[in-house]
Symmetry: C2
Subunit: 346 residues, 2 copies
C-alpha cells in the first residue's frame, strides 16, 4: 500500500468551516474534509482561522469577509487563500478548490506542481465554459448531472452529489401542521410561489432564511404571523426542528440550480418535498418516494395531499442511502486518485 | 554591456492599448511600452488582441471587457491575462502589472520565477495596505508621493509620475472664451463644483466625458447648451482641441486622487489649470506657473482671473519638461534594473 493521499482542501474565506448558520458550500466542505481525515488521508484545510477541523488548518485569514466589510474586494482574499495552497503545492498530491462563484483557480492551472481540481457550485453560462475550456489542464467536479451537462467540453473528473450529515438530521415521525420554505430569499428560489401554494392549499407556511433587502421588499408584506410566519435564519439545530415539524418542504424553484441541499436535508428528516422540475431537482428527489416533482404550480397545489401522505420513514431511508457523507467521500477519493494517477503518468 | 532587459508589461484587459478614447491607465501603459521598445528593450505587452504596439503582443483575449458584457466576471479575465505572463516568467527579467483596481498580482508573488512589480492606480485604504504588507516579495511603484505616503510599510521600488505624449498635445496660443471640465462624471471629480465656479465667474463651461448614469441624474439638468455645454466623450484629437481652446481647465476635485492626468495634458497644451488642493494636485501643478492650487471654491472663483492670465507658452514649457515620456521611461527602467539586480542578488 502506498502512503495516504495528501490533499489541500481550499475553502471559501467567506465564513467559518463549518458555518455557524447557513452556507451550503461551507457545510459540504466541512463534511468532506472531516470524512477524508476520518479515513486517514492527510488533509490540510485552507480556511479562516475560526474554522474547526480534525485535519490541519492553514488559516490565511483570521475570519471571513461576510463578517468584515474591510475585507474588500473579497476576490483578493479568496485568491490569496488559494495562492497559499499553490505556494505549498509540493507538499500535496492534489489541490481541491471549492469555487463558490467562479474558478479563479484556473489562473494557477499551469503554475501549480500539483494538479488542481475545482468543484463548481453554480450553473455556468456558455461564455464561461468557452473561457474555462482554454485550460485543458484544469479538472472539474460537477455537483449534478444537470451541471455536468453544462460543462461539456471541459475536463470533468467526476460528478459527485453533495452528502449531508444524515445522523444529525433526525426523523420526526409526527410533524406539525405547516409547510416549510427554507433558503435564501431571492426571486430565483421561488419564495413568493411558496407563499402562493400555501395560501391556495390553505396551510400555514413557515419561512426560514436570512433577512435581506429582497425579504423586506418582496416577502415581508406577505408575512402576517399566522398564515405566513417568518422565523429568521435557522442554525443547524433549529433547521432540523423546522424540517422535522413540517408536513412538507416547498421548493418551487424558478431558476436552474445545480443541486438543492435543502431537499436532501428535509428528506433526511423524513419530510417529503414538493418541488418544481428545474435544474437538478429530479436527480435529488425520487419522484413518488421522497417527494413529488411537478411541472407547474397548479399541479403542486392539486397534488400536495399526495406529497404529505408519503411515508416519512421511507423518505428518510431513501435520503440516507443516497446522501450519506460516506458515498460523497468515496467518490471524491476516487476523483483524487484518478487525478494523481493521470498526473504521475505525464 | 549586458543584454537588454526583457519585460512583460501586463495591461488591463478592459479595452485596447492605447485606448480609442479615454482611459488614463491605458494611455500610460501604451506610452511606457512604446518608450521601452524605442530604447531597444525587449517588451512583450500582455493586452487585448486589438491593441497596437511596436513590441511583441501577447493577446490573451481578442478584445476587452468594456466592449463585451459576456466577459464576466471581468476579474477572471484580468487574472488569466496576468497568469499568462507568469506562465512565461522564465522568458522575462521582470513582470510589470498595471493594477487598475487591486493588485491581484500578489497571488503570484511567491510563484513567479521573475520578480513582479505592480503600479497602483488608485488610493488604497489602510486595510488594503495591511493585507498587501503580508507580501514583502512584492514591489510597488507609486504614481505620486501622495500615493507613496499611503503605501508606507510596503516595498515601494519607486515613485514615477505619469508621462504624456507632449508632442501630440500642441500649444494653442489664442484660446476661446470658455472654461473646461474634462473627465469622468462622478461626485469625486467635482463636476458640479466646476459648474458652480463657471456660473459664479460668468464664463461658459464646456463639459467633456462619457455619458453615464451620474451624468443623466446630476449633471444634465445643468446643461443648457449655452452657459453649460456638453460635447460628449472626446477622442485624442478632440481632447487636444478642447484643452487648447479653453482659457483654463477647472479641476475642483473632491476626493484624493493619486494623480491627475488631465492636469498634465491641459498644461501641455498651454492651458493653465484651476485646481483644489487635494491628493496629488500639488505634485502635478506648479502653483503660480502652470496654474493655481486653491484651498476652496471661493478662492478659485476670486482668483480665476490670475489663472487665465498665466503665460501659456510658459505653462506648456514647464509641463513638457516635467511630464515628458522620456522622464517616465527613464525612471521605470531604473526601477526594473533595481529589481532585477536585487532578484539576482538573492
Amino acid at each position: 500500500m502506498t502512503r495516504p493521499l495528501r490533499i489541500a482542501h481550499v475553502a471559501p474565506v467567506a465564513t467559518t468551516i463549518p458555518p455557524a448558520k447557513s452556507g451550503s458550500v461551507q457545510e459540504m466542505t466541512s463534511l468532506l474534509t472531516e470524512g477524508l481525515v476520518a479515513r486517514g488521508l492527510g488533509v490540510t484545510l485552507f480556511a479562516t482561522g475560526d474554522s474547526r477541523t480534525a485535519g490541519k488548518l492553514h488559516a490565511t485569514f483570521a475570519h471571513g469577509y461576510w463578517h468584515d466589510e474591510h475585507m474588500w474586494p473579497w476576490e483578493l482574499y479568496e485568491m490569496l487563500n488559494l495562492a497559499a495552497a499553490v505556494e505549498r503545492a509540493r507538499e500535496f498530491d492534489v489541490i481541491h478548490y471549492e469555487a463558490t462563484s467562479y474558478p479563479m483557480s484556473l489562473a494557477f492551472a499551469r503554475l501549480s506542481p500539483a494538479p488542481i481540481v475545482q468543484t463548481l457550485h453554480h450553473s455556468p453560462t456558455p461564455e464561461e465554459i468557452a473561457l474555462w475550456a482554454r485550460y485543458p489542464e484544469a479538472s472539474f467536479v460537477a455537483i449534478s448531472r444537470e451541471q455536468a451537462r453544462l460543462l461539456s467540453g471541459l475536463n470533468v473528473a467526476g460528478t459527485v452529489l453533495h452528502g449531508i450529515d444524515t445522523a444529525r438530521f433526525t426523523l420526526q415521525e409526527r410533524p406539525e401542521e405547516y409547510l416549510l420554505f427554507l433558503g435564501r430569499f431571492t426571486e430565483r428560489k421561488g419564495v413568493l410561489q411558496a407563499i402562493e401554494v400555501s395560501r391556495r392549499v390553505g396551510m400555514r407556511l413557515v419561512l426560514a432564511g436570512a433577512e435581506t433587502p429582497y425579504y423586506h421588499d418582496a416577502v415581508a408584506p406577505h408575512v402576517d404571523g399566522t398564515r405566513v410566519v417568518y422565523v429568521g435564519e435557522a442554525d443547524f439545530d433549529a433547521k432540523v426542528q423546522l424540517y422535522g415539524g413540517a408536513r412538507a418542504l416547498l421548493y418551487p424553484v424558478q431558476g436552474c440550480e445545480p443541486f438543492g441541499l435543502v431537499l436532501a436535508e428535509a428528506m433526511a428528516c423524513g419530510t417529503p418535498v414538493a418541488a418544481l422540475d428545474r435544474g437538478a431537482v429530479r436527480e435529488v428527489v425520487d419522484d413518488g418516494i421522497t417527494g413529488f416533482v411537478f411541472d407547474g404550480l397548479d399541479r403542486m397545489v392539486d397534488e400536495l395531499p399526495r406529497v404529505v401522505a408519503l411515508d416519512r420513514h421511507r423518505v428518510r431511508q431513501h435520503a440516507v442511502s443516497r446522501f450519506g457523507v460516506d458515498r460523497m467521500v468515496d467518490e471524491y477519493v476516487a476523483v483524487y486518485q484518478r487525478l494523481v494517477d493521470a498526473h504521475r503518468g505525464r
